[in-house]
């Protein structure tokens, strides 16, 4: 690659990928719960993206591609850490009714208004990693089911069941907080 090509790659990367820095940083922060780890994850995500920018399909969704890298790095870190991922049986979820058999009650909305952002961060951090990822991507980053399915390399049905379970778990934790209790986090 000549200097002109290098310059072109750099410029294209800045215009296509670096514009998503805030989004990737925020997601890294929500996933890791730790500023130092989030900074490392953020840095590693963009360096990987830059080195493999030639693999990025021009015209496709660069933000989703960056999330894919972020997700892979994050899951890998969790696997390498002393805290294993919490596994749950996806099929069981479907057998049990899949997504959304429980309707939310309205009074909980009032309860949640009493909560501070910090409570929500803590509750989010307490979710199992796989659930946390889909909740962060869907509810905080506004990704579609299809995007999440591609980012996490899993079927859309799995995304839906994880999202449902993630939200239910988050709701349960927040309810506990709002009612004055603190539930311990369950997973990295």
């Amino acid at each position: 690659m000549g200097p002109d090509d290098q310059d072109h790659k750099r410029q294209e990367f800045e215009e296509t990928a670096l514009v998503h820095m805030n989004s990737i940083y925020s997601a890294a922060l929500r996933l890791t719960r730790n500023k130092t780890e989030a900074e490392d994850l953020f840095q590693e995500t963009f360096l990987r993206a830059y080195r493999f920018f030639h693999q990025f399909r021009r015209g496709s969704n660069c933000r989703a591609w960056l999330f894919t890298i972020l997700h892979s790095l994050f899951i890998n870190r969790v696997r390498q850490s002393s805290h294993p991922l919490v596994h749950f049986n996806e099929e069981e979820v479907y057998r049990e009714g899949g997504v959304g058999t429980g309707l939310p009650a309205n009074p909980e909305v009032d309860l949640f208004h009493r909560l501070a952002g910090e409570d929500i961060q803590t509750a989010l951090a307490g979710l199992p990693s796989k659930l946390r990822v889909v909740v962060v991507l869907a509810d905080l980053e506004g990704c579609s089911y299809r995007e999440i399915s591609e980012i996490c390399s899993c079927p859309i049905g799995t995304v839906m069941s994880r999202l449902y379970r993630g939200r239910q778990a988050l709701r349960a934790a927040l309810k506990g907080y709002a009612q004055g209790g603190r539930e311990a986090g369950k997973d990295p």
């Binding site: 894919t68 929500i120 591609e150």
Partner: protein
């Protein structure tokens, strides 16, 4: 639609993910069911509440500076790499000298625990080497027997549904035997089989778009903006690289010099065909 049936669609409805016809069905139910309307309001309020309380945090300046500085370093490394023709031999010898000689289990263990190769499933590396070794033991290692590169490429791309490049190594004394298709997990892998003086070479090609596979190597060798990964396992050398949406792995025991020569021909072929 009953309330029970509606509950199944609540999440997708609030996420705006229902197909139009289903959405209309749900909305018809909502018009008639105050209880489900309250559920929708609660669900939406919960999400809005989450977004409102967890505000996005901008990248701190020192983090952004660190990233830009690291990208600048990568750029400098890229600029300082010498043209391949002049440096190829020194480059390949350096790699050959430094490449990790790993037993099969060692590759697996290193990849699982190592700081690199995180996204290249270690099982896939192991399987590719295994498939190559197995092909050397078969009487008929190919499904399509042909010495015509275009015919083999056409046959394979029809089966893996992605265009692949089948280089012509004939001038190097490497004879094309043909191709076959493997199924590794949920992936179809094209295998092009060559022979050189009794030794076999396998060039594997698999689709790796969407960022699900990366060439992050034990030894990353950059050349002309191209990143290679070199692994030695079971007495076989393996050179991997990405090209477009495809991941290529060349496996043989012909020696590193010959493998790098093959990689060079691959990219020469690519540039002449583009």
């Amino acid at each position: 639609m009953s309330t029970d049936a509606f509950a199944r669609y609540l999440q997708a409805y609030c996420d705006g993910e229902l197909e139009v016809w289903k959405m209309l069905e749900v909305e018809a139910h909502l018009e008639a069911c105050p209880s489900c309307r309250r559920s929708v309001e609660a669900e939406r309020a919960f999400r809005e509440h989450l977004r409102a309380k967890i505000t996005p945090e901008p990248v701190p300046p020192h983090v952004e500076e660190r990233l830009i500085s690291a990208i600048n370093d990568l750029d400098r490394q890229g600029r300082s790499s010498a043209p391949p023709r002049e440096r190829r031999r020194a480059w390949s010898l350096a790699v050959a000298a430094s490449v990790l000689l790993l037993a099969l289990g060692g590759v697996l263990g290193y990849l699982m625990a190592g700081r690199t190769s995180r996204f290249m499933p270690s099982s896939m590396l192991v399987q590719l080497v295994g498939e190559h070794v197995r092909s050397t033991q078969l009487e008929r290692p190919v499904e399509l027997h042909s010495g015509n590169t275009q015919q083999v490429a056409f046959w394979l791309q029809g089966r893996i549904e992605h265009p692949i490049l089948v280089p012509d190594y004939d001038p190097m004394g490497i004879q094309l035997l043909g191709g076959r298709v493997l199924q590794l997990g949920d992936r179809r892998v094209a295998s092009v089989v060559y022979k050189k003086e009794g030794k076999m070479l396998s060039l594997f090609a698999l689709h790796a778009a969407g960022g699900d596979l990366f060439l992050i190597g034990l030894h990353e060798i950059r050349r002309d903006g191209q990143v290679f990964l070199a692994v030695e396992s079971q007495g076989q050398q393996m050179l991997l690289w990405g090209q477009g949406e495809m991941l290529y792995a060349l496996v043989s025991d012909v020696g590193w010099d010959a493998l790098f020569e093959c990689a060079q021909v691959f990219f020469d072929g690519e540039s002449s065909s583009s």
